[in-house]
Structures are given as structure tokens and as C-alpha cells.
Amino acid sequence: MTKFIPGLVHTPVTPFKADHAVDFDAYGRLIEFHVRHGAEALALAMHCGESVSLSDAEQRTLLQFALDKVGGRVPVIAHVSDSGTGIAVARARNAQDIGAAAIVATTPYYWTPPPAMVLEHFAQIGAAVRIPFLILYSPAEMPGTRIGTDLVLKLISRLDNFAGVVDASLDWQFMVNIAWTAQRARPDFQMLSGTEYMVSAGALGATSMFSALAGVAPRLVQRLHQRCRKEQYFEARPDQEAISALRQIVKKGGFAGLKAALRIMGRDCGVPRPPNAALNAPAQTQVAAELDAFAPLRDEPRGW
């Protein structure tokens, strides 16, 4: 059984205290906020949750904490990526053992292995578990290693639990190739949008959407997803444009921009861990001014 359609997947940030320790009080509130505001699944800790700045032990603790907090209300997808295949494999096994519904992994950090070793990396991670296994493709973040349909087809032939690709490339050719080529080999195979650009992805066959901005504007994100799920792409255009505009405001500051936006919405999750810097005061003021003037946010929840 590989069919896994998680729907609208919220990807929470990881709150930190002033001393850079994980702020579990805030994390608990944040998880609860996501579940109450439209998350049909959670994926954590993704890159927007600063996974690469968390130790292996912290990632395991966070996952356990989230699973306890969610209590089975929605599926939790565990992000297990790492540079080393063995480290990612162990993290994947742990995720399954403690109750994750699925795992997701991206290409190895830093290294640019040859295609055969990229295949081996993913094959070993996927083979370590029985729960659904997703690949995240994010070439803008990791341009050194490409994923193509060849790799996906080979993984389908090797892994019964290889359930889909989460696309953050935004590349139409890649998406259509995945959606059609892979689904001919495995009809249950899913293409999932790794960002909120769901109109184009849905029209090309994506069935689910990962959203970091759901922490900022959950109603807007939910409305976009619901319209796209009904294939009402023309009707979804205003919400798609609004989310794109929101993304442009937030992404100027990177992870710090996302956390700044959360603070402005009354959900303080601290600032990023080093080496990612917090926004300086003028940048923070600018984000606040732009969000204040951004009409679509007026209907969004403030506070927890």
C-alpha cells in the first residue's frame, strides 16, 4: 500500500528562545495552532523549521513532542534528510518506531554524489521503513544534485513504499514528467507541491501541498488548497496571487522573514538559529509595514 495523499500539509517553524534552545512551550502552541487552523497533516522539521540547524537528538525529541501533542488528530510526516545515508536511515527508522505516518527526504546536503549513489542514498532510506516514503526536490536550495524521472522510476522499482515526490523546483517540465511518467509505473504515485504555488502544480497533477506560509495566513492557504482540490483553478487565481505577494514580502528576509511575519501575527517563535541572522530593526520595520498594508491578512487569525 503506497497511496498517501496527505492533502494540505502545514510545515511549522521551530521556535527558539533567546539562548537558541528549542522553545517547547511555543512549539506546543504552534502545533496546536496549525492543527486548529486547517492542517490536514504536518511535516516537520522541514527546512523552514531549520532542520539543518538541529542536532540529530533535537530532531528526534521534536518529532516525539509533536506526535504526542498531535495525538493522532492528523498524520505527521517526519523529515529525515541528512548528508550521510546512514544517519538519515537511522532517523527514518526512529520516525517509524515512534509513530510518524510517513517520512520525507531530500538529496544529501553538501555532497554532490554521482547518480548511482543518489539512487542508493534514497533507496537505503526508503528501504529502512514500511511507512510511505516521499522525496523532496528543491534544486534552488541544493543545485548540485538533480533528480530526474530515471531516478524516480528506479526507486519505484526498488521500493514498494515510495509514495511520491514533493516538488519545490516549481519547474513545469519536471512536474509533468513526474506526474505522468511515475504514475504510469505506479498508479498510486503522487506529485505534491512543495510550495503554495498550487494552481500550476494542481493543473499538472499535484494532489497535495506543503505550506510554510500556513503559519502566517492559514485561511488564505486553506482556501487556495480547497479550490485547487476541486480543480477550480481560475477561481483560485486571486488567492494564488495573494499568497505569491505574501511570499515576496516574507522571503526577502529568508527564515528570519518568516519568523518576523509570525511575530507580527502575534505568534512569536523567536529568531532563527545561527548562522541565519535575525532581521535587523529597519528590515523588521519594513516587513511589519508591508504586512500591515497587505489587505488579505486582515481576515487572518492574530495570536495563538
Binding site: 504555488y197 505569491s244 515576496q248
Partner: protein, 296 residues
């Protein structure tokens, strides 16, 4: 919209007689506009004098039945300016221009370039955004906004990033300022672009399968997404097939469809007999040979 290839004789010289037949074929098989010479027409392998002669033929053969746009981009900006003036003189309906080749201009330099070009003529100007082919040099939503403010004749964009975010950002800005602004996907990526306000596409495969291109457009406009996805996939396969050494494989495919247009100028290769045989197997597998017109 059909952007035609450039027919060449066996000695690589211009084949204007076949070009006339090709333009006529496209108009007769449903092209809503003729565009020449995009990169598939080997624009950068033609001399400026040759480009002028072909442009004159395109305008003459089309004879006002559909609009004709002329791609004026050249390595030297001064040549671009000259081609734009020529397009206006011969009665073309619009010009198209990509961001400058080779150099990596700043955003300010891009703005100045398009303003200089757009104010040098009265014709409508269509900008051409292709960041993946030009080292990431791109026309952003913000640059689009400034150009629309400055240029009343800036009427559209050939958008060839094929990227959801880039397309959405340009559409969001441009259509709010100028609702009639025509965002045209660089090749037949209609399913992901039409719901975002895309007006249509230029065609890579139109010389092979004009019926398929028309059906995809109709399915997208009608919101028939299951049909659109099936047709989009077929056209994506064709794009994969033809973009290899573009446009030599496309010209090879045209031989199979009974519309031979000669070789491709070096440094691009000409499709070999083996390559043509492979293209034939792909076209057969996709049912193109049974559903699309053969010959002129």
C-alpha cells in the same frame, strides 16, 4: 501562436520559397499569429540582411490575415534597434525582444534597454523572459511594473522561465496594471499558465502537430483539466524530443510530416537519418502520424 522555423537549402542558404509555404501552412492550420524568427528559427545564425528578407516574406504572405511579430534580438543592441525599425517599416504588427545576450546586465541596464527599444518605434513591444538560457538574467515582476508604467506600447511578454513563481509574479503585477497585457508561455505550457491569466503560448511543435496544440488550448480555456493534463503531457514529451539541439530535431520531425525545411546551420547539428528514425518511432507511439496533417 506559431513561431515558424527557417527553411534552408542544402547549401544552408535561405529557402524563401519554402518559407512562403510554411507560413501559409501555419495560417491555414489555425495559427492565431505568426512569429518569426524565435530561436527555433535559428535567429542568431542568420545575418541581419537575411533576417530582413525573411521578415518581409512573412509579412507579405500573411497579408493581414493574422498578426505578425518580428523577433528583433541580436547580439549587438545596435542591430536590434535596426531590426526593430525595419519591422515597423515593412508593416509588422509587433516586435519581440529578449534580454541582451552574453552580458549580465543589471536591472537598471535592462530597464534602459527596453525603454530605448520601446520608445524607438510605435509598434507594440513584447518582451521575452528566458532566465534559464541567459545566466539567470530575468524580467521580474518589479521590472515589468516599471516598464508598463513607462511604455504605453509594452503589450506582452513571452514568458519562458516555465516556473510557477516567476510566472505568477509577472502575471500578478502586469494584469493588475494593464488587464489586456498578453502573457504568452514560451512553448506550449498552457495548463499551468492559462489559469494564472496566461493568454496562450508560442508553439514549439506546431509545425508537427497543429491540431494537438489547438486542442490543448481549447481544453485549458474550457477548464477541462483531465483532458488538458493528458494533452499537456503529450506536448511535454514532444518538447523533450525536440528541444534536444533545438531546432534540429524539430526540422527532422518536419521531414517525417512531409514538410521538409532543410538542414540546420552550424554550430547546431542537422538531424541524422538515425535521429529522424527515432523521432518517427516517437511520433508513431503518440499517434501524431494519424491525427495531424501530412504535407503542405
Amino acid at each position: 501562436m506559431q513561431s515558424t522555423v527557417t527553411p534552408l537549402k542544402d547549401d544552408f542558404g535561405p529557402d524563401l520559397a519554402t518559407f512562403e509555404k510554411l507560413v501559409e501552412f501555419h495560417v491555414r492550420t489555425g495559427a492565431t499569429a505568426i512569429a518569426w524568427p524565435h530561436h527555433k528559427a535559428e535567429s542568431l545564425n542568420l545575418t541581419i540582411a537575411e533576417r530582413k528578407r525573411f521578415a518581409e516574406v512573412a509579412v507579405k504572405v500573411t497579408a493581414g490575415r493574422v498578426p505578425v511579430s518580428i523577433h528583433v534580438s541580436a547580439l549587438a543592441v545596435e542591430d536590434t534597434m535596426e531590426l526593430a525599425r525595419h519591422a515597423e517599416q515593412i508593416g509588422a504588427d509587433a516586435i519581440l525582444a529578449i534580454t541582451p545576450y552574453f552580458w549580465n546586465p543589471t536591472t537598471e541596464a535592462l530597464y534602459d534597454y527596453f525603454v530605448r527599444l520601446g520608445t524607438s518605434i510605435d509598434l507594440p513591444l513584447i518582451a521575452y523572459n528566458s532566465p534559464s538560457y541567459l545566466s539567470g538574467v530575468e524580467i521580474t515582476g518589479e521590472l515589468t511594473r516599471r516598464l508598463i508604467e513607462r511604455l504605453p506600447n509594452f503589450v506582452g511578454m513571452k514568458e519562458a522561465s516555465f516556473d510557477s513563481e516567476k510566472f505568477t509574479e509577472i502575471a500578478r503585477v502586469a494584469l493588475a496594471m494593464r488587464p489586456e497585457f498578453a502573457l504568452i508561455a514560451g512553448v506550449e505550457w498552457l495548463a499551468p499558465s492559462v489559469p494564472l491569466g496566461g493568454a496562450g503560448s508560442y508553439s514549439s511543435a506546431g509545425a508537427i502537430c497543429p491540431n494537438l496544440c489547438t486542442h490543448l488550448y481549447e481544453a485549458c480555456v474550457a477548464g477541462d483539466w483531465p483532458t488538458a493534463r493528458a494533452l499537456q503531457y503529450k506536448l511535454a514529451r514532444l518538447w523533450d524530443l525536440f528541444r534536444d539541439q533545438y531546432p534540429s530535431s524539430l526540422k527532422g520531425g518536419m521531414v517525417i510530416m512531409g514538410r521538409a525545411v532543410g538542414p540546420t546551420r552550424p554550430p547546431l547539428p542537422t538531424a541524422t537519418a538515425e535521429r529522424q528514425a527515432y523521432i518517427r518511432t516517437q511520433l508513431e507511439e503518440m499517434g501524431i502520424l494519424d491525427t495531424e496533417p501530412h504535407g503542405w
